[in-house]
Assembly symmetry: C2
Homo-oligomer: 332 residues x 2
């Protein structure tokens, strides 16, 4: 022990002032001002909790050049999409980050602003987290907590042969947006890039009593539909021509159709809907949510597995199977 600077021990170390500056403004009551070892959360009475965790890595899930406020917002929105897929209401979130030296405090202040706007919009608050340093890329990991009335969570299992395959919103804009940001595609109005940066989680989608199974589309429509089919031991057939595309996606032309169907980053909800609920939906074409009406489109149907093999097939307007050069994203 040397005789030096006791005074420094009463100063706040850098990590703590960083947390206070960038994250204290996001903290809700469970967070105990982000000063404790853990958050203290009273679960809403008579509800089950729904929990998911997603990590995002610099230059894998976002570009270093992306606006930092959209990165914070996107991380939260991707996790919100997992809650939406089960019909859950958001309650709170925890964040860990591994911070490399090239990410500045100003970057984190903008990152935090994006998170603040989105947590206010979707009605949840920060509960806790951890910050650490790394010599590698920025790694962000978000755990989200939601809740649902017991027994009303919609899962991936539950689809039956004969159920229709439905999807919210439009497919492919996120994947095209990434290509636009990489300079491979024109995006005159920036619509596609916006959809890549700011997906719209379908929070409040009234799945209970409507869908027999659901999941969110994050790794590409075709791959994710395959997961949904396999979880239920079924085949699902997607009619490519029925997949809803935005005006901006249509304008990119036929060459980009495969990207739309397999590209990922949609964060729309894929549902199995029993036949008895389909006529009303086919008529209205949408459902109401607290965040506005959401269009629903029937893009195919579930059937008994083809030769005992469950999975996905895509057909064209003549019913001829379509194949793809790749199925979707696998993160490993």
């Amino acid at each position: 022990m040397t005789q030096q600077r006791t005074a420094s021990l009463t100063d706040l170390p850098g990590e703590f002032s960083f947390i206070r500056r960038c994250f204290a403004g996001l903290a809700g009551p469970a967070a105990l001002d982000l000063r404790d070892d853990a958050a203290l959360f009273t679960p809403p009475q008579g509800r089950e909790l729904v929990m998911a965790a997603d990590a995002m890595v610099e230059n894998v899930h976002f570009l270093s050049s992306d606006p930092p406020d959209t990165i914070g917002g996107k991380l939260l929105r991707c996790n919100l999409s997992d809650l939406a897929a089960m019909g859950a209401r958001p309650e709170g979130w925890l964040l860990t980050l591994a911070r490399p030296p090239h990410i500045t405090d100003a970057w984190f202040e903008a990152f935090s602003r994006g998170l603040k706007a989105d947590q206010e919009r979707f009605g949840l608050t920060l509960m806790g987290g951890d910050t650490t340093s790394t010599k590698g890329p920025l790694v962000l990991s978000l755990t989200i907590i939601g809740s649902v009335i017991p027994g009303q969570a919609i899962q991936r299992r539950g689809a039956q042969a004969g159920d229709g395959l439905w999807v919210t919103g439009t497919i492919g804009d996120g994947a095209l947006g990434l290509q636009a940001l990489l300079g491979k595609l024109a995006d005159p109005d920036g619509v596609l890039a916006r959809r890549y940066h700011t997906p719209e989680p379908r929070i409040g989608l009234p799945l209970y009593g409507l869908a027999s199974a659901a999941m969110d589309v994050s790794d590409g429509l075709v791959q994710d539909a395959g997961h949904l089919a396999r979880e239920n031991g079924l085949t699902v057939t997607i009619r490519a021509a029925d997949v809803p595309l935005s005006h901006a996606a249509r304008a990119t032309g036929q060459t980009w159709r495969e990207t739309c169907l397999t590209g990922g980053d949609d964060y729309e909800i894929l549902m199995a809907i029993p036949p008895e609920h389909e006529p009303a939906l086919l008529k209205s074409g949408c459902v109401q949510t607290p965040h506005g009406p959401v269009t629903l489109t029937r893009i195919g149907a579930f059937s008994a597995p083809d030769h005992g093999q469950s999975g996905v097939q895509v057909i064209d307007e003549e019913g001829v199977p379509v194949a793809f050069s790749r199925g979707g994203w696998s993160h490993l």
Copy 2:
């Protein structure tokens, strides 16, 4: 769309078989077999939830050469220590990992074995998570969920002037263990290295009705005692000679005393204990937990802030203030 390999779409992508192989054996009922977008957890009736998240980065928090089973176990144990500090019971955990190419499947299988042994020992199961790739170091992020009887969580705030400062177990072994692993220190029996690899979270420590405030020691005794003092607007004085050291730590000699007091990686619990509870504790020197008896040592006391400045001071046997070359770890 090209005419190629529809068959591949019915195969399990690599990410999914990896999760099944390495993590399905850890999953509890809330995890829905790790096949869904989120976990579904029924909170234990009449209890509050306690939640914490911690990240560990390769070559910051662990060495690439550390046995992978101890890395999994340590990550879980560090998070369990956050629950222990509030007097909470473990319920479940979520994990995200950013995986670089140099970390093999065999590595993750051993990592998972360490987690399995420890989750069984401490009575919790895996609820969910996410895996992704990175070109940087391995980053692991764990969110832990615990529960406590409402109103019985012990927080950092609550200490009063006159309370004693107490600590569980022994201090410094983890920090010395790291130095031993770095080859800077002899550790003939490997006791110190074991304490670095496998900290002992003080789950089940009966804090309620005993401590007025508590936290776990992760960033060094002196720095963390400073946090506890500042959170309460008090000064805390540590008597260096009273800090409990293991035989192995004592054997390293006086040169390593500063490392013990400031090094971190202890995962012992630091408590403020009101004077009325102290005589019984001074007599018994330990408390019972479901994982065996835990020694408690009085190492100092809280007092009104010195010249209005709250914080920590360390004194020697003559009451003379001792200073250190550094206060503790800050992760940023």
